[in-house]
Amino acid sequence: MKQPEPHITVKDLTMAYGDFVVMRDLTFTINRGDVFIIMGGSGCGKSTMMTILIGLKPPAKGKVFYDDTDFWASEPDIRDQIIRRAGVMYQSGALWSSMTLAENVALPIETYTNLTPAEIRDTVELKMALVGLAGFEEFYPSEISGGMQKRAGIARAMALDPEVLFFDEPSAGLDPVSARRLDDLILQLSESLSTTMVVVTHELASIFAIGSNSVFLDASIRTMTATGNPSKLLAETQDPTLRLFLTRGEQT
């Protein structure tokens, strides 16, 4: 087993909207090749955490390191370079509504590589097939279902084979079989391409199936209460809130 190599490090992070503090004192490490789960109740700040990690919103306090680079203290063009190596799937899909699915997936590839149109088409077809959407290339986002939009968003996030992928609730709205396939995809990408995965999810089944590391955000006390492998957390934790979360509210 390789020595874990820190990829993203969060130190003393406080997130806030104006005066409204969402979470404070967050410190945890995401290792290279981890499938890192951000979990917590609805509205506790998971999506906000993602916006900070991907450079859309500066933290109120604290630091985010990518490898050894202090992300928010760097120049904007350094930040751009770091973020270019990340892929993001947004909670609401955020597909560009006036482009077909193929164009959505192709845009990052066209922008950042020199592939020929034929190569781009092949790559797009591969990504679409990986999320189970082969054949829907020419559809517009408004012409497919909500779950399909999610999967198309995942295909777009994966377009450039990024080093780190952020998924905000990827399996919400998917049927159990598609959700399972998505879990397999996440595991495969992290194992074979050693992509780091940061996944926001509530699905207990996938948390335990794919998560190799996690952080739990407790909305009631506005900070994190645990970090580590989810199965281990379930076995060892004494914290009633976390237990409740990991057992779907069934006390043991």
């Binding site: 054949g135 020419e138 084979d161």
Partner: protein
């Protein structure tokens, strides 16, 4: 290993081809294409099976996967068995995932080529559909108005106030500026011609009648078409995109009553006021112009103007502006409600709302002018 991807071939037996990968296979680097393998297969004779050797393969990503998928497709078409046991486990499993959901063949859209006649036919059908949609929309709007007078229409009073604010007070500066300038321009241009007859004083008649009867209403109409009609279309279009209008419908609220009615009402009530204001500004603009005219002073100008403009002119102006208000609101709301579900559709809706409203205003002006001519007022 940093050397870029390369292929070697071996033929362990007559009908077996081994593909040997070496170097790093990453997207964006120069990689061999699946066609190379195809040529090799075709030249090597009756190949029945392909195996892989990846001992020398370095880093890989989607570049390798797209290559293999193409090879797969070719092989399954030409009945060649693929033995994937030589591939790294991760490659195999990702390829299996990609093949897990069969391609939806019937989902692909066929973009048939269109002949000129079918294009013409389509456009004609579209035109008539558009016309009947317009009529249906106007019909629904009229029904909504009737329900309003019966006191049964459901809409939020606060919405009405907000719309009224947006299309009255906030529109005053631009309406003031434009009508002031139009009044001034009319006076200057009129004065040049009238001076030839020594009748410069009739500048007052020209400005007064033109502004009060027609120009004020048209200018406010056009300003409001750009300012408010476009905004209505963008608002309702965005609501359409976010399924907010569907949410209203399932709640049992008529979007026409809830969204369109307050907007129409606001514009129909406020446009006459705005155009009265435009009258005043236009006449003032003319007055400023008279300062430069040697033969007319301001007192004479107003005196002449009051005599020239009849009450009928005023009523016709007010009537026109109320009609224009309804046209602007109907065009904006209709285009917004017809909006497709994408960001560019919202842009199209706003553009087409402004165009529709301006065309409507000009056509309505023509009709009103002809009617008043026939009636002799």
């Amino acid at each position: 290993m940093s050397s870029s991807g390369e292929l070697l071939f071996e033929q362990p037996s007559q009908d077996n081809l081994q593909v040997i990968f070496s170097g790093s296979w990453k997207l964006g680097e120069p990689l061999p294409s699946a066609d190379d393998v195809r040529q090799k297969i075709e030249s090597a004779g009756p190949i029945r099976q392909i195996t892989f050797n990846t001992e020398k393969l370095g880093d890989w990503d989607s570049g390798l996967l797209t290559f293999l998928r193409k090879l797969w497709k070719y092989c399954s078409k030409s009945d060649i068995a693929v033995d994937s046991s030589g591939l790294p486990g991760g490659v195999r499993q990702l390829l299996e995932l990609a093949a897990a959901v069969p391609e939806k063949k019937d989902a692909r859209k066929s973009e048939g080529r269109m002949t000129f006649l079918s294009y013409l036919g389509d456009q004609t059908v579209l035109f008539f559909n558009g016309a009947s949609e317009l009529l249906a929309f106007i019909g629904e709007a009229v029904v909504a108005f009737l329900r309003l007078f019966q006191g049964k229409a459901q809409y939020r009073r606060t919405d009405l106030w907000l719309v009224m604010e947006a299309c009255s007070g906030l529109a005053l500066p631009i309406v003031a500026l434009i009508s002031f300038l139009v009044g001034m321009i009319l006076a200057f241009i009129g004065a040049i011609q009238l001076a030839l007859f020594g009748a410069e004083i009739y500048v007052a008649d020209l400005v007064g009648i033109a502004m009060v009867r027609l120009m004020a209403a048209i200018m406010t109409g056009i300003v409001m078409a750009g300012r408010t009609g476009g905004a209505f279309a963008a608002q309702l279009g965005t609501m359409q995109v976010n399924q907010e209008i569907d949410a209203l419908k399932t709640l049992g609220l008529s979007p026409i009553e809830f969204l369109v009615l307050p907007r129409m009402l606001a514009l129909a009530l406020l446009m006459p006021l705005l155009s009265l204001f435009a009258n005043v500004m236009g006449i003032l603009g003319g007055a400023v112009a008279t300062i430069t005219l040697p033969d007319v002073n301001i007192i004479q100008y107003f005196d002449q103007l009051v005599g020239a403009v009849s009450l009928w002119d005023l009523w016709i102006g007010i009537f026109s502006s109320a009609i224009f208000g309804v046209i602007v609101a109907v065009a904006g709301c209709m285009r917004g409600m017809q909006c497709g579900r994408s960001a560019s559709a919202v842009g199209d809706a706003a553009t087409s709302a402004v165009v529709t409203a301006i065309v409507g205003i000009i056509v309505a002006t023509a009709i009103i002018t002809i009617m008043t001519n026939v009636l002799g007022i």
